[in-house]
Subunit: 346 residues, 2 copies
Amino acid sequence: MDLSLAPADRSLDAALRRKIDQKTKPLGALGRLEELALQIGRVRGTLTPTLAGPHIVVLAGDHGAAKAGISAFPQEVTWQMVENFLAGGAAINVFARANGIGLTIVDAGVAHEFGVRDNLVDAKVSRGGTLSYLDGAAMTAEQRDAAMAKGAAIVATLARDGCEVIGFGEMGIGNTASASLLTHCLTDLPLPSCIGRGTGLDDAGLARKQALLEQALAAWPGRNNAPLDVLARFGGFEIAMMAGAMLAAAQQRMLVLVDGFICGAAALTAARIAADFLDYAVFCHASAEAGHRAQLAALQASPLVSLDLRLGEGTGAALAWPLVRAACAFLNEMASFESAGVSEKI
Amino acid sequence: MDLSLAPADRSLDAALRRKIDQKTKPLGALGRLEELALQIGRVRGTLTPTLAGPHIVVLAGDHGAAKAGISAFPQEVTWQMVENFLAGGAAINVFARANGIGLTIVDAGVAHEFGVRDNLVDAKVSRGGTLSYLDGAAMTAEQRDAAMAKGAAIVATLARDGCEVIGFGEMGIGNTASASLLTHCLTDLPLPSCIGRGTGLDDAGLARKQALLEQALAAWPGRNNAPLDVLARFGGFEIAMMAGAMLAAAQQRMLVLVDGFICGAAALTAARIAADFLDYAVFCHASAEAGHRAQLAALQASPLVSLDLRLGEGTGAALAWPLVRAACAFLNEMASFESAGVSEKI
């Protein structure tokens, strides 16, 4: 896929700021929503932006390294949770329904045969999930490129259907470990500050995860920090597909809702491939997963909410969407001092 | 009005916690939303709570002290903003529409004749707003009681119409000053830590506001910290009406969404009248208005979001409502490990 990306349109900044400042409210009184409104206007390139067809794409993939004991849950939970998504019973289903968000579930490389299912997108890059990065690269360069291209294709379909704002979620036992390795390699932050308890490791489990990830780094002879190389070495298929999808969404001038730690690792990868990606990204929440704050600090990102979530699936993006929608709505719908006949500051 | 209040129902706590823990997610992974789901279950007294008919009541009132120069905006902005609410152009209109919240606008004592208007509730306690607390009590005990009773009556009507969750907003030039005095008297925090820039005072304006509020405290010969006395001395009609409405809502077992600094002062007053009020209150956002954090700390309240808002009108409550709705939805709609056939932690 094409990895080039133009920055968002800053030519309207002065006009957008003027429009925001003339709304019937004290100057700056909508705080973070005012920054968000400016960003939305930039991304969409207009003073009257819309954010039609909000959609979350949940990508699932299995990780070879999961079998080495880096998670509190068994690997089969990946496919079982995909079934839960398809049945509508997971947290992301509930939050997407509650907030009017479309949902697409994608098999990016789960180690399970789902058969033909009408509400599951089969984008399997490999039938068995990634290989273990303890023994070599998690995926080949071809698999990484295929994953990214499949992500871009999913976005292209949604764009054709009118989607202007997109969020991503993920499911994959072992993927916080993968995200930790990506974060470490792409930010140069110390490895321990990039590692957390994932789905709930105890102290012994956390120590084991740290030792295994040190081992994974030591096992990479050609170690470097080129984002595409790091992605192939340590990525999951769901993370590679998401990075491709995020870049494609930004190319389409969609606003991109970034969920927590794992989606943050995909966003970090996208930003290292094309720095202007950050123009299009809204960091939705600060996860309780240790390592997310380090990742956010490295990206100089300040997320919208902080609710101690550590679930993934795109739940933080789904929960933050009404704030983004509200920012867009006030820009379009609020009266100005002049139009409402309200006196200005003395 | 009756000021007594029973605590929320804790008899279901163990069952609610079990239900939350058995949802298909790592233990505790929904963070703040899990605490919120527990609170909702307690308030509604059931394992399957609903929060039907979400509604925000915006109360407007004028303050005698506003003429002394405690605000960056002229007093006429109070009625002009009420007209903006009635026309649907204010921030609270936009956010209520975006998030499916009903809106009621109430004249609690604006110094303006609106005439008969079909979408304005006339609950005027006095035609001229409060008197200036620089010269005496802002309102009589009878006016305070009338304001509280009118607030309770508005809530009773909404309850009859099926409202189970209610938020409040306010408009009143000068009401951050009133809220500062209430916060100081009801928390014993130093006055300066309770005072902020309101709608945008500069340094000189802030110094003037501080001096005037010192003067207001010195001018109260029988000074005490009984909540009803403090309310009559320094309150606005909109704040007194809100305190009565909040208590009435809790009596009806509604969940009460508390907005920022001024609504927080009403909630603080309600909590000092009946401590169990806090069982029913959800503190929606941390305002950028200095003094709000002090108020929240005194109440040991940890708000849901922190977006640097300082607009009032109930906007923070309207923006936080989707999070509250999501907490209720996951409790009702998410699958359990057993029902979804997902493996539990190893």
